[in-house]
Amino acid sequence: MQLDGKTPSGPLQDKWDKYRFETKLVNPANKRKYSVIVVGTGLAGSAASASLAELGYNVKTFCIQDSPRRAHSIAAQGGINAAKNYPNDGDSIWRLFYDTIKGGDFRAREANVYRLAQVSNSIIDQCVAQGVPFAREYGGMLANRSFGGAQVSRTFYARGQTGQQLLLGAYSALSRQIGTGKVEMFTRRELVDIVIVQDKARGIIVRNLITGEMERHAADAVVLATGGYGTVFYLSTMADSCNVGAAFKAYKKGALFANPCFTQIHPTCIPHTSDYQAKLTLMSESLRNDGRVWVPKDSNDNRRPNQIPEEERRYFLEEKYPSFGNLVPRDVASRNAKEMCDAGLGVGATGYAVYLDFADAIKRDGKDVIQRKYGNLFDMYRNITDDNPYETPMMIYPASHYTMGGLWVDYELQTTIPGLFSLGESNFSDHGANRLGASALMQGLADGYFVIPYTIGPYLATNGVSDITENHQAFRDAAQKALEHDQKLLAINGKQTVREIHVKLGKIMEEHVGMARNAAGLKQAIEEIQGLREDFWKDVKVPGTASDYNLSLQKAGRLADFLEFAEVMALDALERDESCGCHLREEHQTEENEAKRDDDGYCHVAAWEYDGYGNTPKFHKEPLVFENVALTQRSYK
């Protein structure tokens, strides 16, 4: 298969204009004849649903939650980037583009990233027009802050709830279209299959989570905005319902999955304490602006942290990275914390935590200043751990947080299945091997508001209105197959719960496919995943029936996908025999233990094609061509 990214020709700055000019439009009067399915109502899905409906398309929108307002975009705290340059500090579209491509360690497509930077400003305008209450300065102008180590202040925010406010903005636009009847909204639905007729995506099968019924929906195009796959690690900062299901069903139907091994681990999360734990809570990384990270020098030191004298502490980030100190990028901070814990220096109940100490900052600035800056985070920490961070250091540990990999898409955000598009975190397109802070919200909204409304047009205009309905045999077959899959799961009646097996999968992934990877570990992971998958199909216990709200059955289905997908992730990490961004292969490090890229061998997108259950997927390469930026080595010394 030849992968064609469909990047328009011409200078980088003109590509998007050129594309929009040359593209085939759907006549305004004809738009109402087309129907589009959108799956997911996070930033990308809500924004796409509203914008497509405003254009005149008939939209059917689906979400797994009980309301489109609850998708996990809502949990993003920090902010959203844009190249507005309001603070007059030297920002520009080009700088935002460059920072994003460099932050991704040169493993993303130039043209896509440039477009993202270009539309970033329109996103802020759009959100303000909707009534999103961004933070303001006294004069009434929008406030900006620097975020995630960026050297310009380009981040817009709404307290610590930026994701929530942006999502509620998109939700309000979506609600308006539901009110006018242009969007038909289906909540508590989970995608279980994508229906392909004559090689084109023609609709979906969804499980009605309340009744268990398999519902069939046909349309002229299908848009997936179904988020990432961070819960493959079991413990993550994701919401309970986040899963790889929709993207994985697309993969099984022939869409290629790109760079699945690129996953981001966030350094400042509340550590794992016990197996009952359901999730890890993220705390904004702004904490590292004032907190100092350390471990005891002696691995047998069991004293309370306040009793350990200064000279017996190891401030490992400050020692190793004198200029950036505690503010090194997410992946570097995460890896170093793991290294310390692997060496036996970790603290806390499991030995997998490091201290984040505010004592010096409180001494320097006073408790009031620290409280004003981080009061809500300290309260949250105290509520969860019952420990007072004003008096004793916090304990933190990295956790799975975002996935850069996703369905392979071209410049039009179309997958390798014609008529199937993928937006936001569910595609692979813009963040390369590492995502910068405050860029996830930007990409979700860019794809939904400002890219898909244009790029879906040519497909619809070229292919015309489909006459395939839900009664087509392909729909009946797919629904029947989904029912049989359920029956198979219910019939196993083994001894282990879904959760117990998922915990085991998480441990394999964290151990071998987490922050640092090596060939031997990855090979072992693949074997262990295969073994666990066999166990699952022999020994899982799913009570209840398929004709009811059955959470165990829903979760069993999601875990079945993860047990196949995890192997593709490990395989991708094994195949990528270099380090880049968040993907650290221990065999390839610089002298300072940084990711050492191999641009001659691996400057490409790795895209995997499904080749039947249990078979090794086929590998495809999309070479990455850099015409506008020079490939450099990241250094934070």
Binding site: A47, A50, S51, E54, Q65, D66, S67, P68, R70, A71, H72, I74, A75, K84, D125, Q126, C127, V128, A129, Q130, G131, P133, F134, A135, R136, G139, G140, M141, A158, Q161, Q164, Q165, L168, Y171, S172, A173, S175, R176, I178, T187, D240, S241, S274, Y276, Q277, A278, T281, L282, N383, I384, T385, D386, T497, R499, E500, K541, P543, G544, Y549, S552
Partner: protein, 258 residues
């Protein structure tokens, strides 16, 4: 202050079980042994569900998602109080250290005429979405609006709007209200948009259509009990209800929509 040491407690749950909207429902008594006090309330329910699953019984159905207090999915009435005994907190943020050994804990779904029970502790809150669909937005299409800084918003106004916008739509206010009114929910959205210049052109119509939608969807009216404010996990103030009343009365004079 409690210590950080591990404790375990034994509790008895009286949990509402209901097969579906038409089932009558009943309390089921479930003793739960050795609950670590570091667990959250929902993690405790997870463990109960694991045990029920091993016994081949159906787990307790309850809604939850982000488990960090922002998505608004979770919520049950615990010992008579929506989201449980701790102030300004969603149920997912409540921890078992707030309970004592030997406690009997009653767990029920939101009860309101507008919210049908789906199963056990899950209810249908889609009427809240329908209220938003009736006018809880600024009518602006995706496109090229004016530059964001062309609409200055004084800092104090932006802050007040943000206070109102912090509503997570969990429905605790409705569950707490003796009239099962959604006034606090409606007032939060009406306030946010009426305070901001972007929302002013449609303010009158919005107030009228959202209140009408609330009435049509079988929510009750406000009679100033203020329990909504007391249970709200995001501490949305009833000042917003005063603002909604002003907007509504003003709309009666100004709008042709009446």
């Amino acid at each position: 202050m409690t210590t950080t040491e591990e404790h375990t407690i034994n509790i008895t749950l009286k949990v509402w079980r209901q097969k579906g909207p038409r089932d009558k429902g009943r309390f089921e008594t479930i003793p739960v042994q050795n609950v670590e006090t570091h667990t959250s309330f929902l993690e405790m329910l997870d463990l109960v569900n694991e045990k029920l699953t091993h016994e081949g019984k159906e787990p307790i159905a309850f809604d939850n998602d982000c488990r960090e207090g922002i998505c608004g999915t979770c919520g049950c009435v615990v010992d008579g109080v929506p989201h449980g005994p701790q102030k300004a907190m969603t149920l997912c943020q409540l921890h078992m250290r707030k309970f004592s050994n030997g406690d009997v804990i009653a767990v029920e779904p939101w009860r309101a005429r507008a919210f049908k029970v789906i199963k056990d502790l899950m209810v249908d809150r889609s009427p809240l979405d329908k209220i938003i669909q009736s006018g809880g937005y600024v009518s602006v299409n995706t496109g090229s609006p004016q530059d964001a800084n062309a609409i200055p918003v004084p800092m104090d106004v932006a802050e007040k709007a943000m206070d109102a916008a912090a509503c997570i739509g969990c429905g605790a206010c409705v569950a707490a209200c003796p009239n099962a009114s959604a006034m606090l929910f409606v007032s939060a959205k009406v306030s946010q948009l009426a305070l901001l210049p972007q929302g002013k052109p449609e303010a009158a119509e919005r107030a009228i259509s959202m209140v009408k939608a609330m009435d049509d969807l079988l929510f009750g009216n406000c009679s100033n009990h203020r329990v909504c404010e007391a249970v709200c996990p995001k501490e949305i103030s009833i000042i917003n209800i005063a603002r909604l009343n002003r907007e509504f009365i003003k709309a009666g004079f100004a709008s042709e929509a009446v």
